[in-house]
Symmetry: C2
């Protein structure tokens, strides 16, 4: 019945129900979820609307999916239903260079947008490490960050308006910079639980006149952390300020030969962008602070190729850990910048307690940690150790005044942890908003909200 | 009954029902509204919560009010009820210099926050012309802008989290930079229709090392508009870029002797802030563009006193028009920057058709026009002319691809105009959000939403 109605609305070609097709959509970069009942590949907003109406009629859940690079199970079904893939809705509908904005379908790949904007001297700023494959729609669902969100902000700061299909198939738009309620921000980061974003107006930024990239090596992650705090504290905001520890730089150099020193306890990758005339002053100011905090070496990337190699190494860091262990788990937590040394000590202690190798590669300027826990998933003991270590790190971040996710989202993995940062009343306010757009909880069910949230406040007041 | 219950909860001193007290709360800077049934002056979130519960029990509307400087009737009752004044909730609860943020009660006056932050080298960026008296709570309700929102953004870009009392008296918080739905932006600019904001975490910014202010005179507003477009188009974003026409500069100089040339068709007030070393380059770049577009003169304010005088003149411009006519009406519309010359011609034509004097003083860099229409409210013909002219300007802005409000809000005045920029489905999405937080529509009723919005979609789906 479900399949028949979907085929009737979208055509045979756009509906997949063969077991081998469904299996591919039970995974994202987190782990396995449940098999969907059907996968659809809509070509238009009208198609998405038709799917939502059918799902609503039949009481079937919907999970929207971009490229499936999410790290917390946000894009896989928790309990069957329809997966809506945006693979065919990948067109840039409008590139408005003069007003520095673009309208894109949800399936446009992040980096493709920046490539298209290049001819107009523009780029799309949010740059998650997955940007070569992840989509604008997926980035919107998770409010994706990236190394450059230190100075440019996360996805929510770059979305100007959304076209949304609600759970009953209705279509509406949100617009920033217009009077009335600003609902755009509520949808960005809502992980497909409030509505299905079909297209977006996004902000494009002017390419800077000049970009410089530096690498500073330190004896310890503590020393590098102190330097990070001091740089930002001095009122200098580099466009990126990334840290990698020795475990990571060794793996990155073995994999890519990117140009990082492998004999340091930690390296900082620092980027500044702006007017050419300002670059020497930026370098002098940042370098002076780095040296005050014990930098062992300072290197300037001399060419575009050198800069690209350093960034490729940084963005490929997680993949490079394949040389250390067959599997890795990425935790994603935030702490106040001033608490970085303490947080890193807690990470190290937790990994040591469970006998795991940990590598740290993260957005230091934002206090956004990404400890990579190395393991072998064929060993049940190691899996248990990873889960315990991940939880210990999560709680340590909360105890230090931080939070449970920096940029990867909540998804299925961290829904229970939401109670560590929100009161029941705060969560109920969110749930009430969900109830108006998705009263039957059929959009990406069992995500974000803790299973235990069954208080009376969750129901909309009568 | 209402009075008794309010007095019981808040004490005699915090409840006003004498006719002379109520009369003062039937006005804001727009015009007269309806008399409230009672005015309360809560001292705490608990008081506000108690008032909401009483209002809910008795089915009485609530209108939250800051300093009453709003220009579209947002802070006055449309049909009686309780006005909640935040005059007593005016404490800065926490000034966190290290993390550059503050927690303030809603009644804190905008400028008082910047004054308090000064000792830490910080300031609060949104600076509406009313900042000497308007409150953070009122600024949040209207998502207030100001001259500096060109580079710093409006209020929504500076609010990190809110404490909110809902229409049933429940208290909850929203938090930016936390996972889950980002509801903060939905509440900012919702004009007291979604909940009553009792306190807010706001961002503070570091005072720049150096600030320069320049005045460029032009023969016509068209020439000045072209220069504005070219400056921003060149990738230069001054911290402020304000325009005043000859009607306004003459009034300002007569009132304040601020230092503006009175023989020019238009003047631009331009401010840049940043590192001292960069200022000469900024000046050279901006001045070169101004001169390319026909600037007749260029002056640099040499001292802090000169800069303060120029800003005081700009911010006092509306008041200065008292020298031209006993009353003025401020329209607030936006157009794309490139359409400024056309928009200004439309303003002039509309005023001429109805025989009104119009002065233009506005945030040119944002394309945010504020035509001031001069009139005498004792003359019914002139009142009718102002209404017609205001409507004509509003429609002209929409026709040029702009919108019905830049920063003053919708309130009572512009609710019917919302249909000019939103579809019924878009408005219904907003109304559905309202229904969860304020199902009885008792928070600031008859504001923002057009009276005609009675489509089935407005009801929350069953």
């Amino acid at each position: 019945m479900l399949e028949e109605r979907l085929v009737e609305a979208l055509g045979h070609d756009a509906v997949k129900t063969a077991p081998e097709d469904l299996a591919a959509y039970a995974f994202d970069a987190y782990s396995d979820g449940a098999l969907p009942d059907a996968v659809v590949l809509p070509a238009s907003t009208r198609d998405v609307s038709a799917v939502a109406r059918i799902a609503s009629d039949l009481g079937v859940p919907i999970v929207a999916r971009g490229a499936g690079t999410g790290l917390c199970g946000g894009a896989v079904p928790a309990k069957g239903g329809i997966v809506v893939s945006f693979a065919r809705m990948n067109r840039i509908l409008e590139l408005d260079v003069r007003n520095r904005r673009a309208r894109v379908q949800s399936g446009v790949v992040n980096l493709d947008l920046s490539r298209a904007a290049l001819s107009g001297g523009l780029f799309y700023a949010p740059d998650p490490s997955s940007q070569k494959v992840s989509t604008i729609g997926g980035n919107i669902a998770t409010n994706a960050g990236g190394p450059h969100c230190l100075s440019y902000g996360t996805t929510v700061n770059h979305v100007l308006g959304l076209e949304i299909v609600d759970s009953a198939g209705g279509v509406f738009e949100t617009k920033l910079d217009e009077p009335g309620y600003d609902l755009t921000a509520a949808f960005v980061g809502s992980e497909g639980t409030l509505g299905i974003v079909t297209s977006a107006w996004v902000r494009l930024m002017q390419l800077p006149e000049s970009v410089r990239v530096w690498v500073a090596a330190f004896g310890t992650v503590e020393a590098a952390s102190e330097a990070v705090s001091a740089i930002v504290g001095a009122g200098i905001v580099p466009t990126a300020l990334e840290m990698m520890d020795a475990v990571i730089t060794k793996a990155v150099e073995a994999a890519f030969g990117a140009g990082y020193p492998t004999d340091a306890g930690a390296v900082l990758l620092i980027e500044s962008a702006g007017f050419d005339d300002d670059m020497d002053a930026y370098e002098a100011a940042i370098r002076a602070i780095a040296e005050r905090y014990g930098a062992l070496s300072w290197r300037t990337a001399r060419t575009q190729a050198e800069r690209d190699a350093l960034w490729a190494g940084r963005k490929g860091a997680a993949a490079a850990t394949g040389r250390i262990a067959p599997n890795y788990y990425t935790q994603d937590v935030c702490v106040p910048r001033s608490k970085l040394p303490e947080a890193l000590r807690a990470v190290e202690a937790a990994a040591a307690r469970y006998d795991l190798t940990v590598g740290n590669v993260f957005h230091a300027g934002d206090g956004n940690l990404h400890p990579l826990l190395m393991y072998d998933k064929s060993d049940a003991r190691q899996i248990a150790a990873v889960i315990e270590t991940g939880n210990t790190i999560l709680q340590a971040a909360v105890d230090l005044g931080g939070t449970i996710s920096g940029e990867h989202g909540v998804g299925y993995e961290k829904r229970e942890a939401m109670t560590r940062v929100y009161s029941t009343a705060d969560l109920a306010a969110m749930a009430r908003v969900r109830d108006v757009f998705d009263p039957t909880r059929s959009l990406n069910p069992d995500k974000i909200f803790p299973k235990g949230l069954r208080c009376p406040e969750v129901a909309p007041p009568a």
